[in-house]
């Protein structure tokens, strides 16, 4: 069972010694390679499944799926612009809240935390990622929404008298873009902070020492020497959190109010692409409706795929440049 070809012999002499495959080795290699191939196969199958299901809607409705805002099942028009808008806005709100907090925690853990606090705080933040989405939703409905309605929403309206500005206009029912943004912020936080912590910890000591030697304070050292070094990794972490927020389904569906309207107000209910699919799927009445939902899924798939690919590439580029 020797499988040594002249080609291999030229290419790599070392291989000659160990290239005696037994049948067992052959089978073993084939099986593990087959398992590894499942991963790309899965990605391809997911793409094929979604685009096959979405095709009838794309063929019939074209781009109006993402540009039109009229979602009328009986009338046969399926414009998911409000859901696309809601997905983007709720995720943006989430990132605005979560990013400073997550980076703050990461800096705290990598620079200032007393040694005895580092493990427990890091663990508690990581645990946020382990809580099931539906539990966040439950907590959102019964704790967060009443809290927002009674304590938080009156503040800009009554105390700051901003009720007339588009951002805070309208009645505060509770289920709203703001509620979705806050829940998503809590859910995205552990992802952003875990990656940021990792890249901050990986900044070389010499970088810090050089800044301190030049007379920088600890904060100046972090601002001018540590964060610039870790920047693209931190951005990768934020993108990762964004990917989570964009695709999050259950918790958002439970707190956003599910109203397909575009409103500038954070207090108004909204809709997201994922919650649109989750809500209407089991009630889909005809093939076009079902296919339109799948088309919305396809758009979500493409957006999250791109965001995740960029995130991974950024994080990798940092770890690779460090390895050199």
């Amino acid at each position: 069972m020797t499988a040594v070809s002249a080609h291999w012999l030229d290419k790599d002499r070392r291989k000659l010694r160990v290239e005696e495959f037994s049948i067992g080795d052959r089978i073993y290699e084939l099986v593990t390679a087959a398992c590894a191939l499942v991963v790309p196969a899965l990605v391809v199958s997911i793409a094929v499944a979604i685009f096959a299901a979405a095709w009838p809607a794309f063929a019939k409705l074209g781009l109006s799926i993402v540009t039109s805002s009229s979602w009328d099942v009986a009338g046969g028009s399926f414009g998911a612009a409000p859901a696309l808008f809601g997905t983007l806005v709720s995720s943006a709100v989430a990132l605005i809240i979560a990013t400073p907090l997550a980076i703050g925690v990461a800096i705290f853990l990598s620079e200032f935390s007393p040694a005895w606090l580092r493990q427990p705080v890091g663990f508690l933040v990581d645990l946020l990622a382990a809580i099931p989405s539906v539990v966040y939703g439950l907590w959102g409905i019964f704790v967060l929404i009443p809290l927002l309605r009674e304590q938080v929403m009156p503040f800009p309206r009554d105390t700051l008298h901003l009720g007339a500005t588009p951002l805070f206009r309208g009645p505060a029912y509770g289920p709203s873009m703001l509620a979705a943004g806050v829940i998503l912020a809590i859910m995205a936080l552990p992802y952003i902070s875990a990656v940021s912590r990792e890249v901050l910890m990986a900044v070389p000591r010499s970088q810090r020492e050089a800044a301190l030697a030049l007379g920088a304070t600890r904060w100046e050292m972090i601002r001018d020497a540590v964060i610039p070094y870790a920047r693209s990794g931190i951005i990768g972490g934020i993108m990762l959190g964004l990917g989570r927020a964009l695709g999050e389904t259950m918790a958002v569906t439970m707190v956003i109010g599910n109203r397909p309207e575009i409103s500038a107000s954070l207090f108004a209910p909204g809709y997201t692409m994922a919650s649109l699919i989750a809500n209407e799927f089991s009630e889909a009445t005809n093939d076009l409706h079902l296919s339109a939902l799948m088309a919305v899924g396809a758009v979500l798939f493409v957006i999250t795929l791109i965001v995740n690919a960029i995130a991974r590439w950024l994080v990798w580029s940092v770890s690779r440049s460090r390895a050199k």
Binding site: S22, G24, D25, Y28, V134, L300
Partner: protein, 269 residues
């Protein structure tokens, strides 16, 4: 500015503590033995339980593990041994991308292949969806764990005349087994609470069912249905269900944390 980072740390840990506190307060009052042994009662009747949903979740986890663990471990072995092949880079990258895909998208995938052609929802489709989510998770943790195994162990086995596949399975894999098991547990904890992919696959079931071709109940689905219902009794049940679910997930996460730390010195995500 340094004080602000302390504040960020406090604010970031607050939600977790608040959620756990509310779960304990609201869930514990409606949790009793009958919750685990009884079927759901109709609206208006107090009591009842989620026995079918708890069993359903266990069945779904079983199917998902049967798919996700062998494939994930196999792929992890490949990645650890053929670190620099083009396939290894591709698989590593796509695993990470797959990890980040919305779970509802995975649900659509399972629905298109396993529900639509057959014409009805099934436990099997739900298990496949969850199993697909496990594969990339298990692949990456397995690879990490195998990399920690010293090369000298592998060389020793080869020097004793072991074939490569025997070395990989009975020496390398066995050494890393505790770590791999921990990674598997983390993956199980992650999918145990998944709801979105089950909406179009397992679908949920108000009755007792363990058949793989039938729609099956699941704890997260039941919590969702009860939480968005207008009935107080159901809200109580949802809190109780959430407490059970979070207890399972947290026990696994904490156990995994301590297992990896004691073994390798540093926690592995």
């Amino acid at each position: 500015m340094i004080g602000l980072t302390y504040l960020a740390a406090i604010l970031a840990t607050l939600p977790l503590l608040l959620i756990l506190l509310h779960l304990l307060r609201k869930g514990a009052t409606s949790l009793s033995l009958s919750f685990f042994t009884h079927m759901p009662r109709p609206v208006g009747e107090a009591g009842g339980g989620m026995a079918n949903a708890i069993v359903g979740t266990l069945v779904l986890i079983g199917i998902a593990s049967a798919i996700g663990l062998p494939i994930g471990i196999g792929a992890g072995l490949y990645l650890a041994e053929k670190r620099t092949t083009a396939l290894a880079y591709t698989v590593r990258f796509l695993s990470d991308v797959l990890n980040g895909l919305p779970s509802i998208v995975i649900g659509i995938f399972a629905w298109e292949f396993l529900v639509r052609p057959i014409g009805h929802f099934s436990a099997l489709a739900g298990g496949v969806a969850l199993g697909s989510m496990m594969i990339p998770l298990v692949t990456r943790t397995t690879e990490e764990m195998l990399r920690v195994v010293p090369t000298s162990l592998r060389e020793a086995a080869l020097a004793l005349g072991y074939q490569k596949w025997r070395t990989s399975i009975s020496v390398v894999l066995r050494t890393a087994l505790a770590g791999i098991a921990t990674g598997a547990l983390v993956a199980v904890a992650r999918i145990a609470g998944e709801t979105a992919p089950l909406l179009f696959t397992a679908f949920g079931n108000q009755f007792w069912s363990t058949g793989l071709r039938e729609p099956i109940a699941a704890l997260p689905l039941q919590i969702f249905t009860y939480a968005i219902s207008p009935y107080d009794e159901w809200h109580q049940q949802a809190w109780a269900g959430a407490l059970v679910l979070i207890t399972i997930v947290l026990i696994i996460s904490i156990a995994a944390r301590f297992a990896t730390r004691s073994r390798f010195g540093a926690p592995v995500d």
